[in-house]
Amino acid sequence: MSSEELIRQDDVTIRFVGDSGDGMQLTGSQFTDTTAKVGNDLATFPDFPSEIRAPAGTRAGVSGFQIHFSSHDIYTPGDAPSVLVAMNPAALITNYKDLKPGGIILVNTGAFTERDLERAELKTNPLEDGTLAGYRVIQEDINQRTIEALEGTDLGKKDVLRCKNFYTLGMMYWLFSRPLEPTLEWLQAKFKNKPGLADANSRALKAGYNHGELLRLFQGRYEVPKVEDAPKGYYRNIMGNEALAIGLVVGSELAGLKPFLGSYPITPATDILQYMSLMKNYDVITCQMEDEIAGICTAIGASFAGRMGITTTSGPGLALKTEALGLAVITELPLVVVDVQRAGPSTGLPTKVEQADLLQSVFGRNSEAPLPVLACSCPADAFDCAVEAVRIATQYMTPVILLSDNYIANGSEPWKLPDMDKLERFPVEFVTDPEGFTPYNRDAKLARGWAKPGTPGLRHRIGGLEKDSKTGAVSHDPDNHQIMVSLRQEKVQGVADSIPTPEVNGPDKGELLVVAWGSTYGATRAACERLQKEGRTVGHLHMRHLWPFPHGLREIFKGYDRIIVPELNMGQLARLLTSEYPEFKFEKYNKVKGKPFQAFELKAHFEKILEEKS
């Protein structure tokens, strides 16, 4: 079959799996970058173990990268892959069941020795024992092919074999007719000072591509045309954590502030600290502190001094920051706390997804300590939410918790870049006038004034002890405490006045409303749109602001026969909604497996509900 006869596919999901040391994340990200440049819409999700290097060849050491790309708008990294690339037996055995029936499995037989099978705890060879019946299995000794392709180079055998992921990538580029140039250019830049490696990997990539053609391994070759109706504008591929880092810096500048990040490394939030540490020439200060508590406390101190205090963490770290969050609440200082959620409790599954820190964020502090909580829904949305978190924190003089999760943090998708001229500024005005100044003078939104140390005439003391609502002095007066508790609550509730009512995707009246939040956006949207196409009146309401709730929800809820809340927890948003809107019944649909929802499983569940009704 020649390369001219391309089979059109509109929607493909590939999963690359191999040992942690096989370079699957790199292979996946190269395929992603090239695919973005071709003009497909895409979404990706890496899935790697929490051990940096589990013993080679074992099931615990399997690392994967899934990419879903398409000629139309897509929302998720794909449900079941149609192509699985498995670099060893452990990777094959732990992943083949996810594949679509009849899907293609490309196996590196070079890694199927007795010893390899033993490491993967396999008594028989899955390539021979019928395990893979029902799939199109393509066996190729990629190790040997790579060695042949690199004959004559002066690399040692070990280094030669490390190029096998580029050989594999070359085969996939051929199969899905992608250009080699972006990766070739990337290799040249990456190994600028090691031309031998640049050359070897480039040769491996080209060899894989050419062999795809020559060896006739595949029964056809595919094209996935670019998205034709994508909104005009500029795009780049972005991962959630990077989008958050950029958003926090941009948000700070829109507030007229310089950012200060005090943080402590924790999976899966660490990248944000790493990205922001590179942004020193944007007047960004980052301090990697001795622990989570120091991370938030330095940020609080920096906010007091007039910078935009930020701290980034994951669930266990948020727990440690709890007391300091209360301090930020009572001192009414702006602070953005990013919680990139992971599966818990405790250390839990540190590299897996869960959205179970919602109640911790809304309520998890001693006493009455309300603060706004928002959540981003996808990597591109993370940018907007970071800016929004800074806006709320500075406009309302309050700590804000922004929830992301592991799925958004490490997932990627094309981001339609904002028009720089249209980014709305919300400049902070520091108090400078001593006339009538007290630290708890409030504006119409009930936000107190922000007076920076160093400003003449505005000396004041703040702290964890309750303060007199008028003078700002320490006060143990019972009535004053009631006033201050109520004021803080009213202020946070007032944030709702500054946020729009979210829009329902789909009909505004009908059989079913799906209320979701965070990273379940893609799967929920895909499931609802498929049902809408089948004529069902299903609406999807995706919540960005989780505390306080936006105005207008009650009117939305009234329009539907039933309301369901799918969540990757045991029903936390459903619980909040039930307490705030007791007149409605919020049905739960929950999963806590460290895995995201898949569109088909949501659709199946919604269908079941619709059938029950009729």
């Binding site: 440049k37 003009g39 998205v227 994508a230 909104p231 005009k232 504008g233 500029y234 795009y235 780049r236 950029i246 810096v249 941009v250 200060f260 005090g262 020193k280 020439n281 944007y282 007047d283 960004v284 200060i285 301090c287 502190m289 001795e290 622990d291 508590i293 120091a294 406390c297 330095t298 609080i300 101190g301 920096a302 007091f304 001094a305 007039g306 205090g309 007391e323 300091a324 209360g326 301090l327 001192t331 870049l417 904002p418 720089m420 980014l423 920076k452 140390p453 160093g454 400003t455 003449p456 005439g457 505005l458 000396r459 004041h460 003391r461 703040i462 702290g463 964890g464 002890l465 002095a473």
Partner: protein, 332 residues
């Protein structure tokens, strides 16, 4: 509107009523701080007092400066944020033996090793006062308190040694009953560029009265303590009739003529550590004064320098470049 014109100690007092127990050693410390700030002539708006939790930590409320009363143990972390965010501010940490060495021990050692330009005053009364009389990490072995009714079985920290071990660039000790020594020591701390750690022996009249009496009582103080001053012979005794001689790891009592000259500025923390070991020997006087004073770049200036050097190398970042990176593509 300048506030730098000939300030007096009382100008640094806030309008808040001071609520320490009558006779508390804290009064002497706040007087010392107000007095040296006036001497230096620091503009009140440039001073930030940061504290944690405990009796001592009410301190910021009593000062007419900027102040931040934090949470238990975290004063050093909050102060680090303030100082790094604005290095022009004069940032003081007010803490105690429980706040700074127990719950906040971690932040203490890290702010010392980082050499954040903070003036840290550790009020050491060897007891938990605000919670009404439990033993602290500096309470002596065997001390009977409400939580150690049969005597404490915990070995105490020696704050000076802890600070030296953490790599502090300035370590000193002074005592509440000697306002003159207190002023000298606080002034030296204020003049130091870098983390300045000052342990103050502070008497808690209610829960641990007389903890330091053995050394600080007027009748015995000259015999039981020695002022170690930079460049001066180490001489003590009521009639200045004794000296300390330092030979390697050993310090012994000698005649005033034979006394060694104290130098806290040597690069090695060794001599300071040997000096702090005198605390373990009941026959020796307890050293008071500056144990160590060396110069190292501060965290706040290193952070600021790095921001400016990266900026001068890469140019001031424009938001557009952060968003519109070279891998952008256009959909037309």
């Amino acid at each position: 509107m300048s506030e730098i014109q000939q300030l007096k100690p009382k100008d640094y007092k806030s309008d808040q009523e001071v609520r320490w127990c009558p006779g508390c050693g804290d009064y002497s410390i706040i007087n010392g701080v107000q007095s040296i700030l006036a001497d230096i002539g620091v503009a009140k708006e440039n001073v930030v007092m940061v504290s944690g939790i405990g009796c001592s930590s009410r301190f910021p409320y009593y000062m007419d400066t900027y102040g931040f009363h934090g949470i238990h143990g975290r004063a050093n972390a909050i102060a680090t944020g303030v100082k790094v965010a604005n290095p022009d501010l004069d940032v003081w940490v007010i803490t105690g033996d429980g706040d700074g060495l127990s719950i906040g021990g971690n932040h203490m050692i890290h702010s010392l090793r980082r050499n954040v330009n903070l003036k840290i005053i550790l009020f050491n009364n060897e007891i938990y006062g605000l919670t009404k009389g439990q033993y602290s990490p500096t309470s002596p072995f065997g001390l009977k308190t409400k939580t150690t009714p049969y005597g404490s079985v915990d070995n105490p920290f020696n704050p000076v040694q802890l600070a030296l071990g953490a790599g502090a660039t300035f370590v000193a000790r002074t005592l509440d009953v000697s306002p003159k020594h207190m002023k000298e020591t606080l002034a030296a701390a204020a003049a130091h560029k870098g983390a300045a750690f000052v342990e103050v022996w502070q008497n808690c009249v209610i829960f641990n009265d007389g903890a330091y009496k053995e050394w600080t009582d007027k009748a015995v103080r000259d015999e039981k303590t020695i002022n170690i001053a930079k460049g001066e012979k180490m001489i003590f005794g009521k009639d200045n009739d004794k000296g300390l001689k330092s030979e390697g790891f050993h310090i012994s009592v000698c005649s005033p003529e034979e006394a060694s000259v104290w130098d806290p500025c040597v690069e090695s923390p060794g001599p300071a550590f040997v000096m702090s070991q005198l605390d373990l020997d009941p026959s020796m006087p307890r050293p008071m004064g500056v144990f160590r004073q060396v110069s190292r770049p501060t965290l706040d200036e290193l952070v600021a320098d790095q921001v400016s050097s990266v900026t001068s190398k890469k140019g001031m970042g424009k938001l557009k470049d952060l968003i519109y990176t070279p891998d952008v593509w256009e959909v037309k």
